[in-house]
Amino acid sequence: MNIILITTISITIIGLLVGAGLVYVGKKFHVDVDERESAVREVLPGNNCGACGYAGCDAMAAAIAKGEAQANGCPVGGKPVAEKIAAIMGTEAGEVIRKTAFVKCKGSCEYTQNQASYVGVQDCRSAVLGGLTFTSCDFGCLGLGSCVSVCPQGAIKITDGVAFVDREKCVACGLCVKACPKGLIELIPYENHVAVQCSNKDRGPQVKKVCAAGCIGCMLCTKQCESDAIHVDANLAHIDYEKCTQCGKCAEKCPVKVITS
């Protein structure tokens, strides 16, 4: 009986002491947390992909709360997230254009040949050490899937030796853009379906030698375009997505069918 009593009392005293200590420490070391920061963090998607330029969603939330980053800074969340953040911060959401990654190469096995067989680490970045290229086109997709391995959404697939991005799954975090050693992937507006599927900057005859689907820089597309949105620079067609009206006339005329529509 005595033992039970002593135990109960001593535990109660210890509990009170520890409680008091915690209250004291809590007050003493109190850090002011911006409530908006945790609210913003709640709204962010939590990918931790780093596409915003900050080290994950926590850092992004802190930056928004401090006013360093814009409400529309998260490419993954898009418009709904931007609006919610704007509501929390009391600012304008700003314009949000949904983007998607796009692989600027069409050179599948059907259109190109391999000039050497590659064995070794199955990673494009390993394969191009020292500039080595085993496909006929020096600029084209190697198809070993460095982009696939970094994509957090599983949105990229290699089909027939060329990477292909699923627009619906892609959240435009841009990790694949950084991973591709050939610099083939670009973020383009989600709405835009007219795009050039080639990155070869060589002149026409040389391109024809290495790939049956490469842009030969013939300028036919520029003549078709009514809104001055497509230009040929360094033997390669480029589309200005702000001007493009997606009429698809360039794609129709393209002799090598390298423009999608």
Partner: protein, 449 residues
């Protein structure tokens, strides 16, 4: 001095194929192609235009910056183009293409023996720089930079690397047999730059003729000696040599000069002698064309810019009944595969190995998961842990790879890949990881500026 370094492997050296083939000079028949980036550092700047006449020994591209080197024409004729061409690494690079007139007319000012008894340090360094000499062992570091360390008085050893530990290659063996006196003289010239240093010519014991020739040439010289080393790969690695010669471990982050050593390939030393004594710039070097697939393996003195296909033809082509499965620039341990034979030889190309079987593809088929046997760790001459390093790379933990595992100290010698029973491409993983970490560092440094 120690007997040997730790780790290493004993691959079949296959030197019997070409070791007794005497050096012969090969003059290119067709056009010569000179890539502007043959060395470590900034690519050289072309100083000739299309249709300019060119003579042998003329500087056609100038060093651009301190760590860079001149590029010298090796044939006479007319500049056909300055354009992108495929080079030996497989990449498309800016090259100077010279239409060869077949006469090999030389510029004035070289070939005459000069009196070098009163040559000054500045003159030596100037001659080396003007001659466009770079490390001919393979890495291609500009020699005038290497020969000018912060404190020349602290250098205790100048090592001429004649180990030639890479299997198949025999060019340096032949060079030492034929030009022993010139190499010794070259060594004495380098020693003039370093008053406190001793010259050591390091040769593996599997080259008894070269050792005998060099010993005869060094006889009676106080400052230069020959050191016969056990045959073990990678005996010719810079750090392995310093381990043995200087006889002490030095911090893994240190440069050879910090350990009081300068290591130069014997080919480089020979080139220095030619440049200082004859004013001859570097436009030719030794090259071994060998391998089981080639009809008659040979040791050439080859001119820069010669196409590999021409050399193979000169050797009688591919052996009858065999198929060329793999072509390597360099030997099988450190060399890299060629995607095309229509590429020019550059200053650092010291061997072409043609093989009738593709061991890499065979190994790839047998690859399994890591067995954690630790054999890679026992052979690593750098004392690294390849198995753990590969694990870190797998997990994308580059920071651990760099800071905890010292992965940047990998010299890509290939020993771990050679012994791996699971046939894992370890060396390739490390090469790629190192390249990526260095690229990130450069980007970070650029961002700060």
């Amino acid at each position: 001095m120690r007997k040997t370094f730790r780790g290493g492997v004993h691959p079949d050296d296959a030197k019997a194929l070409s070791r007794d083939a005497a050096l012969r000079e090969y003059l290119p028949k067709g056009e010569c192609v000179y890539p502007l980036a043959q060395h470590i550092g900034k690519p050289a700047k072309a100083v000739v235009k299309k249709n300019d006449p060119v003579l042998v020994g003329q500087v056609i591209a100038e060093a651009d910056g301190f760590v860079s080197a001149n590029i010298i024409a090796s044939c006479s004729g007319k500049v056909k183009a300055v354009e992108k061409r495929r080079t030996i690494s497989g990449a498309m690079q800016e090259c100077i293409v010279v239409e060869n007139d077949g006469l090999f007319t030389e510029t004035e000012g070289f070939g005459e023996r000069r009196d070098i008894s009163a040559v000054t340090k500045e003159e030596i360094l100037g001659a080396v720089k003007a001659a466009g000499i770079i490390g001919l062992g393979g890495a291609g570091f500009p020699t005038h930079v290497k020969l000018a360390p912060k404190d020349p008085g602290a250098i205790r050893y100048v090592i001429a690397n004649g180990a030639e530990c890479e299997p198949y290659l025999t060019g340096n063996d032949q060079l030492m047999r034929a030009e022993a006196d010139a190499i010794t003289e070259g060594m004495e010239i380098v020693l003039k730059l370093f008053p406190e240093a001793k010259g050591v010519i390091a040769i593996e014991k599997n080259k008894p003729e070269a050792i005998a020739a060099m010993e005869a040439a060094c006889a009676g010289k106080e400052n230069v000696s020959v050191l016969a080393l056990p045959t073990k790969y990678p005996q010719g690695g810079e750090r392995s040599l310093i381990d043995v010669v200087a006889g002490k471990d030095f911090p893994i982050t240190a440069l050879p000069a910090d350990a009081g050593c300068i290591v130069d390939n014997v080919g480089t030393i020979y080139a220095i002698q030619r440049a200082v004594c004859y004013g001859e710039p570097l436009f030719k070097h030794v090259l071994t064309l060998t391998g089981e697939a080639v009809a008659t393996p040979a040791n050439f003195i080859v001119r820069d810019g010669t196409l590999v296909t021409e050399l193979i033809e000169e050797c009688g082509g591919i052996k009858e009944g065999l198929e060329l499965k793999k072509a390597l620039a360099g030997g099988p341990m450190m060399g890299f595969a060629l995607t095309s034979l229509e590429v020019p030889v550059v200053k650092t190309t010291n061997g072409i190995t043609l093989l009738p079987n593709d061991a890499v593809a065979e190994a790839d088929e047998m690859m399994t998961a890591c067995l954690h046997c630790g054999r890679c760790t026992t052979v690593c001459p750098q004392g690294l842990l390849p198995q753990i390093m590969a694990e870190a790379v797998d997990m994308g933990d580059f920071e651990r790879y760099e800071k905890k595992l010292y992965g940047l100290d990998c010299i890509a010698c290939g020993c771990c890949t050679y012994v791996c029973p699971a046939k894992r491409p370890l060396t390739q993983i490390f090469k790629h990881t190192k390249a990526e970490i260095m690229a990130k560092k450069r980007a970070a440094a650029g961002g700060k500026k």
